[in-house]
C-alpha cells in the first residue's frame, strides 16, 4: 500500500476488553459442575516419602477425590528429558513423586472438591510422614564431595557439563600483556506474571475428547506433550488459550499440577479447574537465573582483547522441565557479542539442587551482556583506559559484517557501533567525568554505565538441530479472505501482552493492501491455529510475522491473478490492492478498477467458473517460515546512577536506550516491550532475589518480602529508535523484547561499579541491594 500500516503506532485492538473488565482470562471461563483442585506440597526441601494417609481428607465436606502419585502416575506417563546432547544426563520426572520430594513446594497430593475453599480445608487433613534428608541448596553444595543426590538416578548432581574451544586461547593467554579476571553473579528470580498459573480441563466422555483451557505461550507443543502423557491421540485434545495475564516464559512447560488436573478430569468425568495462589507461584512454579560467571580476558596493554575464557555455572533447581543446558549454553554461545574475539573457550556447568526447578525467563541469557560489558569495564580500569575506547578498539564495524563468531554464529545487519555512539552522545558521555567530579566534591557518588547488547532473538530449526534439542524454530500461519472480503488470519504463537491482534493485523493488512481494522487474528486454539512453536524468546515478530506475510502474499497473488482474468489482462503485473480496491497502473498512475477484494472473494468462493483455468475455488493460504539458524538485534543501554554510601541505595538518574531491532511492526508496541524488558532487568539488577537458606527453605515467599519493583523504582526511559532492516528476513524484522533485560543488568552493573570504583570497591553480585552495597563499603 502507498501508506503502509506496517510500523505505525496503531492503538491496540485488544485494549477495550482489558480496560473494561471484559477480557477473558482462564479464571473468567465459567463451566458448570467444575470441581476445584488444590495441592498439598512438601514442607521439606528433601525428604523420603513414607506413609500418606488420605482417608480423613476423602471424608471431608465437598471432597470428590484425593489422589497422590500412586494414582496419578498410573494415568499419566512420566516426562522423559533426554535429548542427545553430550554432557547432559537424561532425566525422568514422575507426574507426582512417590519415593521422595525434592524441594519445598514439591506437589505430593491433589484434592478435588466442590470449591477451592473446601479443597483447601481438606488439604489440612492429609497426613504425610516425611523422613527429612540432607538438602543441597547451592551449586557449590551440589558438587561437594559426598553431596546427597537430588535425583538418585543420576551419577552426580552435575546434570549438564559442556566445554568448547575455538582458536588457540591457551597461546593467546600466554602472549597477553595482562590477564583480567571478572566475576558476575545473579540470584534466583521468578517470572511473576500477575496472573498465576492455572488450567481448566473438560473431558467429553461421549467423544473421548479433552478440551484443555490453559494460559500457555506455546499451545501446540503443549498439546503434543499433554496428549502423549495422557496416552491420548493428538486429535483427542484441544488446547484453548484464553487471554494470558503475563507469561515471561513461565507459561510454556506442561507443569505436573496441570497434567494431574487433566488426568483427574478424565478419570472423574467432570470438569476440573485449578488456579495456584501467589504463595505457590513464588515457591513452586518456575524459577530462573542463579547464574555465576567468571570471565578471564587476555588483553594487550592497548586494550585489544586477544582471547576470552568463560566459566559459567547455573543452579537449576530440583527438576528439569527443559534440558538443563538450554539456558546457560546460550549465554556461552553469544557471549562475545559485538566484539572480534576468535580465540574463545567456555565451560558451562549446571547442577541440580533442592530448590524449585528453573525455566526460561524473559532473556534466559540475561547475564550475557553484563559479563562481557562488565569485563570490558574492568579491563579499562586495570589498564587505566577509557572503557569506551576499549569497546571501540574491539568492536565490529559495519564493513566487517557478516561476521562469523567463535561459536559459529553469523552476525549481520547489526549496528552495535552506531547505537553506542548515538547513545553516548545523547547521555553526554564526554561531559560525564566533569559531572562525576563535581558531585564527588559534594560528597555524591555518580556512575555512568554502558552496555552494548547483541540479542539472540529467533532460533531457526538449524540451531535446534545443531544444539541437539528436539524441536524446530519455524512458525506457521494461515490467511483467509472470506466471501464478504473480511480477512481472517492465524498463527501458532500466543500473546501474553504483546498485542499480536494489532501488530499481526498490520503485517497482513500491509501485505494484502487493506485496512488493519479489517484483519482479525484468531490465535490460541489448537483446532483453529496452525501447528506452530509458540511464543518464546523474542521470535514472535520475526518468525510469526514472516509466516503471516508469506501467507498473505500468496493470497494477494491469487487475488491479483483473478483480477487480471476478470479485467482481461495478460498478467497481474500492473495491478495492486490499495485499501481493499484493485488498482491498475496505466500511464504511470494507479487508477481504481471496479474490482475490490470483496468482489474478488465473492467470485473465488461463489462463482468459481469465472476463475482462471485450473485455479482452485476459495481464497486462503497456509505457509510456514523457518528462519536462519539465529537472528540477532542490538541495542546500547546507558544509565547514570547515584549510589548513596550511607545507605547503600542505588538511584537511577537517567536511562537511555538506542536500539536497532529491524523493521518494526508497530512502533508504540516495540517501545512498550523495551520499557517492560528493561524494567524486568532492573528488577533483577537491584531488587529481586529468592532467598533460600542452607536447608533449602525459601525465606521470602510472599509479595511483601520478594521485592517486585513498583512505579517508584522504575525510571523513565529515553528511547532512540535506530532500526535498520534485516535483509535475511521477509519483513526485515530482527526480533526484540528480551534485550532490554540484558541491557539493564549490564548497564546498572557497570554504572554502579563506575560509582564505586573511586572507593576501590567492586560489586559482583546482583541484586545490588542496600545490604549488599553496604557490606562492600564496610
Amino acid at each position: 500500500m502507498r501508506d503502509s500500516p506496517l510500523g505505525k503506532p496503531l492503538l491496540r485492538k485488544e485494549d477495550f476488553r482489558f480496560l473494561t473488565g471484559t477480557g477473558r482470562y482462564l479464571d473468567d471461563i465459567e463451566v458448570p459442575r467444575a470441581l476445584h483442585a488444590a495441592f498439598v506440597r512438601s514442607p521439606h526441601a528433601h525428604a523420603r516419602l513414607h506413609r500418606i494417609d488420605l482417608s480423613r481428607a476423602k471424608a471431608a465436606p465437598g471432597v470428590v477425590a484425593v489422589v497422590g502419585g500412586a494414582d496419578v502416575n498410573q494415568w499419566t506417563a512420566p516426562l522423559r528429558m533426554a535429548p542427545p546432547i553430550e554432557g547432559l544426563q537424561p532425566v525422568e520426572v514422575q507426574t507426582l513423586p512417590t519415593e521422595k520430594v525434592r524441594f519445598q513446594g514439591d506437589p505430593v497430593v491433589c484434592i478435588v472438591a466442590a470449591d477451592r475453599y473446601l479443597a483447601e480445608d481438606a488439604a489440612e487433613l492429609i497426613e504425610i510422614e516425611y523422613e527429612p534428608l540432607p538438602a543441597v541448596a547451592s551449586f557449590a553444595a551440589a558438587l561437594a564431595p559426598g553431596a546427597p543426590l537430588v535425583d538418585e538416578s543420576l551419577s552426580s548432581n552435575l546434570v549438564s557439563h559442556q566445554s568448547f574451544t575455538a582458536g588457540d586461547p591457551a597461546r593467546r593467554f600466554a602472549e597477553a600483556d595482562r590477564i583480567v579476571e571478572a566475576r558476575f553473579s545473579q540470584r534466583r528470580q521468578t517470572h511473576l506474571p500477575i496472573e498465576t498459573r492455572g488450567c481448566l480441563a473438560v473431558w467429553d466422555e461421549g467423544r473421548q475428547h479433552l478440551t484443555y483451557h490453559n494460559p500457555n505461550q506455546a499451545p501446540h507443543p503443549l498439546r503434543s506433550t499433554l496428549a502423549a502423557r495422557l496416552g491420548l491421540g493428538e486429535s483427542q485434545v484441544t488446547v484453548i488459550v484464553p487471554d494470558i495475564g503475563g507469561g515471561f516464559g513461565q507459561k510454556i512447560a506442561l507443569y505436573r499440577e496441570e497434567l494431574t488436573v487433566a488426568a483427574l478430569a478424565r478419570h472423574l468425568k467432570r470438569p476440573v479447574r485449578w488456579r495456584e495462589d501467589r504463595l505457590e507461584n513464588l515457591l513452586a512454579s518456575s524459577h530462573a537465573r542463579e547464574d555465576k560467571a567468571r570471565l578471564r580476558a587476555a588483553v594487550t596493554n592497548a586494550g585489544t582483547i586477544l582471547a576470552l575464557d568463560l566459566e559459567l555455572t547455573e543452579d537449576f533447581g530440583a527438576y528439569c522441565f527443559y534440558p538443563a543446558n538450554y539456558l546457560a549454553r546460550v549465554v556461552a554461545m553469544i557471549l562475545t557479542g559485538a566484539y572480534k574475539v576468535k580465540d574463545y573457550r567456555f565451560d558451562v556447568k549446571v547442577a541440580l539442587t533442592n530448590k524449585c526447578g528453573n525455566g526460561p525467563m524473559r532473556a534466559p541469557m540475561a547475564i550475557t551482556s553484563w559479563v562481557i560489558e562488565g569485563a570490558i569495564d574492568k579491563i579499562a580500569r586495570e589498564l587505566s583506559l577509557d572503557p569506551i575506547e576499549v569497546r571501540r578498539r574491539n568492536m565490529l564495524r559495519a564493513n566487517e559484517l557478516p561476521y562469523v563468531t567463535a561459536t559459529e554464529q553469523r552476525l549481520e545487519d547489526i549496528t552495535p557501533f552506531e547505537t553506542m555512539e548515538r547513545g553516548l552522545k545523547t547521555i553526554d558521555y564526554a561531559g560525564f567525568r566533569a559531572r562525576q567530579a563535581e558531585a564527588r566534591v559534594a560528597g555524591r557518588h555518580l556512575g555512568l554505565g554502558v552496555c552494548v547488547v547483541v540479542e539472540s532473538t529467533t532460533y531457526g530449526s538449524a540451531f535446534y538441530k545443531a544444539a541437539g534439542i528436539p524441536g524446530s524454530g519455524h512458525e506457521a500461519a494461515w490467511v483467509k479472505v472470506e466471501p464478504s472480503g473480511a480477512v481472517n488470519a492465524s498463527v501458532g504463537l500466543m500473546a501474553s501482552g504483546q498485542g499480536y491482534e494489532t501488530t499481526f493485523a498490520q503485517v497482513v493488512a500491509a501485505t494484502i493492501g487493506v485496512d488493519p481494522a479489517q484483519v482479525q487474528l484468531h490465535i490460541g486454539n489448537t483446532d483453529v491455529a496452525p501447528y506452530g512453536m509458540g511464543s518464546r524468546g523474542a521470535r514472535g515478530g520475526t518468525a510469526g510475522g514472516s509466516a503471516l506475510h508469506l501467507a498473505a502474499t500468496e493470497v494477494k497473488e491469487k487475488v491479483l491473478a483473478i483480477a487480471a482474468q476478470l479485467l482481461n489482462l495478460n498478467s497481474p503485473d500492473q495491478l495492486h490492492i490499495e485499501d481493499g480496491a484493485i488498482e491498475w497502473l496505466s500511464d504511470g498512475e494507479w487508477t481504481r478498477t471496479e474490482l475490490t477484494l470483496a468482489s474478488i472473494a465473492r467470485t473465488a468462493y461463489l462463482d468459481p467458473l469465472r476463475l482462471p483455468g485450473g485455479m482452485e475455488p476459495g481464497l486462503e493460504a497456509h505457509r510456514a517460515y523457518d528462519p536462519p539458524p539465529m537472528t540477532f538485534s542490538n541495542a546500547t543501554h546507558l544509565c547514570e546512577v547515584e549510589v548513596t554510601t550511607a545507605t547503600g541505595t542505588v538511584r537511577i538518574l537517567r536511562y537511555v536506550i538506542a536500539e536497532d531491532c529491524g523493521t518494526v511492526l508497530n512502533e508504540m508496541i516495540v517501545e512498550g516491550q523495551q520499557h517492560g524488558a528493561t524494567a524486568l532487568g532492573i528488577a533483577g539488577a537491584l531488587y529481586e532475589a529468592l532467598d533460600y537458606d542452607n536447608e533449602g527453605q525459601l525465606r521470602n515467599g510472599t509479595l511483601a518480602d520478594y521485592l517486585v519493583p513498583t512505579a517508584c523504582e522504575i525510571p523513565n526511559f529515553e528511547i532512540i529508535a535506530m532500526h535498520t532492516p534485516n535483509r535475511r528476513n521477509p519483513i526485515g524484522s530482527k526480533g526484540m523484547a528480551e534485550g532490554g533485560v540484558m541491557g539493564a543488568i549490564g548497564a546498572i552493573g557497570n554504572a554502579v561499579n563506575a560509582a564505586l570504583a573511586p572507593l576501590g570497591i567492586e560489586a559482583t553480585e546482583q541484586p545490588f541491594s542496600p545490604e549488599y552495597i553496604r557490606s562492600l563499603l564496610r
Partner: protein, 158 residues
Amino acid sequence: MAKVPIVLTINGERHEFLAEARKLLSDALREDCHLTGTHIGCEHGVCGACTVWIDGRPGRSCLTFAVQMQGHQVTTIEAIAQDGKLSALQQALHEEHGLQCGFCTPGIVMSCEAWLRDRPEPDEVAVRELLSGNLCRCTGYQNIVSAVLKAARQTRGA
C-alpha cells in the same frame, strides 16, 4: 461451614446469593455475581489487581469478606465505562499504551480513577507514589504514569 444469605449492592444492582461467611469479596464478585473484571493476583493485599471501590473509596477485595459489604456500595471495573464509552483515564491508558497483558489494568483503573477525583493537578512523583500500590509486570509503568497525567490534564481542560 454453613452458607448464609448475602445481599450486596454492586454497581447499583442488588445481588443476592448464599455463601460461606468466610468468602472473600473478590471471589464473591467473580463467582456469585459473575463480574469477572476484578482480578485476583496475590490474595494478600500487595499486588492491587483486585482493587474495587467500597462506598466510593478504593479497597482490596481480596482482603474483604463479602458478608462485610452488606449495606455498602461496591463498584467494580465493569461500571467505569458508560454505555461503551471509555472514561478519560481508560482512554488515556489506551492512547498511551499503558497496558499490555491487561491483567493488572482493572485494579489500576480503580485505584487511579478514585484518586484523580480528589487531585485534579497531580505531578509525576505523586502519580508514581499512588501507583506503587499496584504491581504491573509488563509495562515498566512509564506509559501508565503518562496516561494518568494525561487523563488529569484532559479532565481539567474539559
